[in-house]
Amino acid sequence: MTRLALLLCLAVLALFTASLAVGPAGIGVGEGLAALVAGGDGPVPLVMREIRLPRALLGVMIGASLGLAGAALQGYLRNPLAEPGLIGVSGAAALGAVLALQTGLAATLALGLPLAALAGAGTGVLLILMLAGPRGGSITLILAGIAISALAAALTSLVLNLSPNPYAASEIVFWMMGSLADRSMTHVWLALPFMVAGWVALATLGRGLDALTLGEDAAEAMGVRLRRLRLTLVLGTAAVVGAATAVAGAIGFVGLVVPHLLRPLVGAQPSRLLWASALGGAAMVLAADLAVRLVLPERDLKLGVLTAIVGAPLFLHLIYKTRAEMP
């Protein structure tokens, strides 16, 4: 157990360092890290501190957020197919973010962008819980997710197409697929408070999610306050997914792949899966973002493309496996 934690931490650390070391500027690893720590004038510290550091930090933050949110949603819904991207939570967050940008809310209110994305994500989670709560089967969950995703995507496209800015319409792909390219420390500071609050909220759910393994009735009889748990889940998920989507677009499948891979390693216990998925999610997003830069450096390949290439086949596999028990 502690060995797994250590391994995941090492993986995150290694990928974080690699993320700092890789870039088109061709800065030596040692030179870059020295400039990062020591600072100073000239272009190298600027590149390290203002371009690579925020990208790597956001990779960790967003990955941890998506992994954690996926594990928490799965624990609550008792369904391994629940994932913020697939069930429309990220899409709804993207809609909130796009609305904030295009209405000018993001420009007039300092936290307008993440708040609007949070509101969008919260609406998405609430809809999912209403339509496919813990008693709903896999099919309900997937169908509700498809509907919410499609609606959010359509409205996002509509808003962007109506924008007076000629670039806006070309950014539909970014909001659907996500990217960490050219993000800055501004984005880190914008997302961090929401994410920290969300992480803390979701981390408190462990014991309740464990008890829910036995069903709502048994959990409630074991002293779990379900209403409070549900509210914490909605707010925590909305905060982390909203903040992540506001700065990097909707990155799918992280919350599906990571908990699935790590579940056997934590004895399937939902509480242990929470922190493991947070670390695993950070590692996955860092790795995907590295791949984006190494495979096609010139193309601004979207992060979500890579996570979907890895995640979608796994999703199909999971559907195949759970097919028998679907209502």
Partner: protein
Amino acid sequence: MWGCVRLSRVITLGLALAVAGAGAMAEPARVVSINLCTDQLAMLLAAPGQLVSVSDLAADPVSSAMADEARSYPVNHARAEEVYLLHPDLVLAGRYTARATVDMLRRTGIEVVEFAPANSLSDTRDRIAQMAALLGREAEGAALIARFDADLAALQAASGDAPRAALYHPNGYTLGAGTLANDILRAGGFANVAAELGHHGGGTLPLEALVMAAPDLLISAETLPGASRSEEVLVHPALEDLRASHAALRIASPDWICGTPHLLGAVEGLVAVRQTLDGAGR
């Protein structure tokens, strides 16, 4: 395709001359232009009443250097049906105008001439001459070219080491060697950093590479109304640092897009910046 709208406008504009053999025919009486750059060339050269319609882009000040002039013409949206209903005997298009539109117009028996984009100052002269020949306005064309050359000569920038300038547009789009913007930079007395880094044509310049290249002058497009993530990179803290320590210029695009004498406005702006830089004792 999504990548750079302004670029696609540039391209739409610029590209056209292949079917210039029309000189033998009588000059056309009803000309419709469906491309931003042919719009402007035609407005500069056509006889009164000869040009029937220009594209809506020509009337959009975001992309057009002649938006005011364009307002006195009916605009079209470069769709085959509306163009056909104008009964043109000549349609002016860019080489990258929607293929389907051009083919459709040709099938209805309308002559369509496609202009290649101007990728240099000398291309610009060729396009003016080509347009003049098509419209049967050779004398006006020759005069326009002569005036263009004279104005350009008058703007010749200071000699000596050219400061290095980088074009950095939304989505990190830059223009390297073999582009009209490259020639404009040179005429304004600057060396193009993107060309120096080996960029040919348009392409993405990673922010890191730009910061490492530390250009003397950073040229970026002005922010357009409405919000976009593409433009966010133009206010990235790393760029703001660069702007604080080096010179920076925010430009409006119209003068930089089309091979017309209006590009001299862009050259003029650069010459002025060069003078300030030289004056600052670099």
